[in-house]
Symmetry: C2
DNA sequence: ATAGTATGCTAAAACGTTTTACCAAATTTA
DNA sequence: TAAATTTGGTAAAACGTTTTAGCATACTAT
C-alpha cells in the first residue's frame, strides 16, 4: 500500500543526470545532449515506469490538451456522429474532448462555457445554438480562447467556422421534388430557427417561392408529429422536414391520420442519420457529411491552436441527396 | 491585451490579509476567522473577479473532479442516453465526464484507460466490454482509482456494479412470446457475448429450452441483417433480438426477403431506444431504464469517492416489456 | 598562444494553490 | 495573578513540472 509517486526527480537520480536534462530529453529537445545521456534517461524512465504528472505539467505550460465540445442533444445520432468525427482527429493529436450536452437549458450555455474555461480547455467547438449569446463570445475573447462554431455562422462573426452547405441542401431537395411534379410543398421547421436551419429553408424556398406552406415544429419527432394536422388540412403533396427527426415524427403522425408515404405525401429529410435506412419507407434525405464535419472542425481548431494569428477561416462542406423510398413522382 | 492573471495573492493584498486566510475562507473553513475578515475576502474576490486556477488547485489536492466514461458506441442511442444520465448527476455535484468511445478497437481499451489515469480522473465508469482485460483492473488497483462497471459484472469481481436485470428481461420476452403461442423461437446475439448479453440469452433460454435456434450476429443493424438467412431457412415463428439495433437489422433483412413483421415473424428487441417508436411496425422490446442506469452509476461512484472503504455494492434495476406492434399471437 | 565558439549539462526560478505548524493577543480558569 | 485556553491569524513548505540563464570544458580558427 506504500504508493510512492514516481517523479522526475527519481528518474534524474537513476539516470545520474539533472532534472533539467531529463525534462528536456523527455520532451524531445535532445539536440544539446549526448547519445549516452539520452539512452540513460529513456532507460531510467522505462525502468521506473515514469509518466509526468499531468497537473504539474499543465500548471506551468498552461496547456491542457483538452477541448470543450458543446452540442444541443447527444442523443440525436447526428451529434453523436459529429462527436465521433471530432474525437477521431483530436485523439490522434493527443487531445481529448470534454462533451457538454445542452439538453434544453440553452440559457445555461454561458454557464457551461465558464466552467469549461475554468477547467482550462485549450479551445472550444460549439455545435450548439445559443452562441448568439454575446456574453459567451466576450468571455472567450477575454481569455483569447480559440473556438470553432459549427452551423451557426452569421455573416458578421470573425470566427472560424465549418458548416454543411445548408442552402444548397434545401435547394436540392426542392429541385428534386419539383422535377417529380410536386407543385405545392410544405416545410416544417422551428419557430426561431438557428442559422443553419434557416439556410435550409431559404434554399428550399428559393425554388418553391410562394407555393410553400410553412409549419412550425421543434427539431424532434414530437415536433414533426405535431405538424401533421396543418399539413393534412392543406393541398400540398410534398413535405420537406428540416431534419430527420422531424421527418420521423411526420411518419408517426401521418400514419395515425391514415395517410401513406409516399403515396399520399412525399417527404424528404435532412441529416441522414442512421435510422433513415431502417424506417419504413426508408427516408429520402439530404445527407450531411457528418463525421467529416466533425473532423474538419477539429482540424481547424488544431490549426488555429498552432497559428493563433491567422485570418478566420470558413469551410463549407457539400451535401448530397440520397434517394430512398419516401418520395414518389406525382402522376 | 495586457492579460494579467489574477491570483490569490492579488485577493490577499486587496483584502489586507494573508494568502492562507484567503484560501481558507474561500474554501469554507471560516470557523477560525472574524466576520470582518470573511466579508473583506469575499468583497475582494468579487471585485477582482477571482477564480482559483484549476491546475494549481489540482496539483496540490490531487482531485480533478473529472470522471472517465468508457462506452463502446456513443452513436447507439442507448449509450447516448446512458451518458446523459451519468452527466445529469455528475454535473450537479460539480464533476465532469470525459467520454471515450471505444468504437471497434476495444483492444485499445487499456490504452485509453492509461490515458484517463494520466489525465488524473478521480474515477471511472466503464460501460464497455473489454473490461475482462485483467491489466486494466490492475492498473486501476495500483492507482487505487474507484470505478463502476456497468452490465459487465462477473460473479468474482470485487467491484461496484450497476446493471439492468438482463436475465429477467430475456425471460419476460420469452414468456410473452410463449403465451402468444409461439413454439419455436430464434435468438440472435454475438458470438462472444459480453456478460449482460449472455444473461439476456440465458433468461430467454430458461423458458424456450431446446426449441431455440441460436443465430450469431454483431450488436448492430448489419448484424441483424446478416442473421435473416438462417432464420428464413428454419421453422421458427418468433425472434428475440438481443438488442434493438439487431432488431432493426432484421426489419431490413426480412423485408428484402419478402417477409412481413409481425405476420410472418414476431420480433422483440432489447433496450428500447427511441427509434423503436417510429419504425414500422413499432418495435415491441424490453425497456431498460437507461437514463436511470446512468444516474445510478454516477451516484454510486460519488458514494464510493466519499467513502472509499465501504463494501463493493451491486445494484440491479428492473426492466419491463413494452408492447408495440412487432408481435402477433400465433393462430 | 589566444580568443571565440560549440558542446553538454545544471541550478534555480516560476507556475498558483493548499496545508502544516506555529504565534501573538485576548480571554478564561483556578 | 499565574496558568491555561481560545481566538484570529500568518509564514513557509510542498505539490512536480518547465524554462531561463548560465557555466565549464573542449574544440576551432587566427
Amino acid at each position: 500500500m506504500n504508493k510512492k509517486k514516481i517523479t522526475i526527480k527519481d528518474v534524474a537520480k537513476k539516470a545520474g543526470l539533472s532534472i533539467t536534462s531529463v525534462s528536456q530529453i523527455l520532451n524531445g529537445n535532445t539536440q544539446r545532449f549526448s547519445e549516452k545521456a539520452i539512452k540513460k534517461v529513456y532507460a531510467a524512465q522505462k525502468e521506473l515506469n515514469y509518466v509526468p504528472d499531468f497537473f504539474a505539467q499543465r500548471m506551468v505550460t498552461k496547456k491542457s490538451h483538452l477541448i470543450g465540445v458543446l452540442v444541443p442533444d447527444i442523443s440525436n445520432p447526428f451529434f453523436a456522429q459529429l462527436f465521433l468525427g471530432i474525437q477521431d482527429i483530436l485523439n490522434k493529436q493527443g487531445y481529448v474532448a470534454l462533451l457538454y450536452n445542452m439538453e434544453g437549458d440553452e440559457k445555461q450555455e454561458s454557464h457551461y462555457v465558464e466552467d469549461l474555461i475554468r477547467r482550462g480547455v485549450d479551445g472550444l467547438i460549439i455545435a450548439s445554438s445559443a452562441f448568439s449569446d454575446q456574453s459567451i463570445y466576450q468571455a472567450l475573447q477575454r481569455e483569447s480562447l480559440p473556438m470553432i462554431v459549427m452551423d451557426q455562422k452569421t455573416e458578421t462573426d470573425m470566427v472560424d467556422a465549418v458548416q454543411a452547405d445548408n442552402y444548397d441542401g434545401g435547394k436540392q431537395a426542392a429541385l428534386y421534388l419539383q422535377e417529380l411534379g410536386h407543385k405545392k410543398a410544405a416545410v416544417v421547421l422551428p419557430e426561431n430557427p438557428t442559422v443553419n436551419v434557416r439556410k435550409r429553408y431559404e434554399g428550399f424556398a428559393s425554388v418553391y417561392g410562394d407555393e410553400l406552406l410553412v409549419v412550425n415544429g421543434e427539431l424532434s419527432t414530437s415536433g414533426g408529429q405535431g405538424a401533421v394536422k396543418k399539413i393534412i388540412n392543406s393541398d400540398i403533396t410534398a413535405i420537406f422536414a428540416i431534419n430527420d427527426l422531424i421527418a420521423f415524427g411526420l411518419y408517426m403522425g401521418l400514419k395515425e391520420a391514415g395517410k401513406k408515404i409516399p403515396n399520399d405525401y412525399s417527404v424528404v429529410g435532412f441529416d441522414d442519420i442512421s435510422p433513415c435506412g431502417y424506417v419504413t419507407p426508408p427516408l429520402t434525405t439530404i445527407a450531411q457529411p457528418t463525421f467529416e464535419l466533425g473532423q474538419e472542425a477539429a482540424k481547424m481548431l488544431m490549426g488555429r491552436l498552432n497559428s493563433p494569428q491567422k485570418e478566420p477561416e470558413e469551410k463549407i462542406l457539400p451535401v448530397k441527396l440520397v434517394q430512398r423510398f419516401s418520395v414518389m413522382p406525382l402522376k
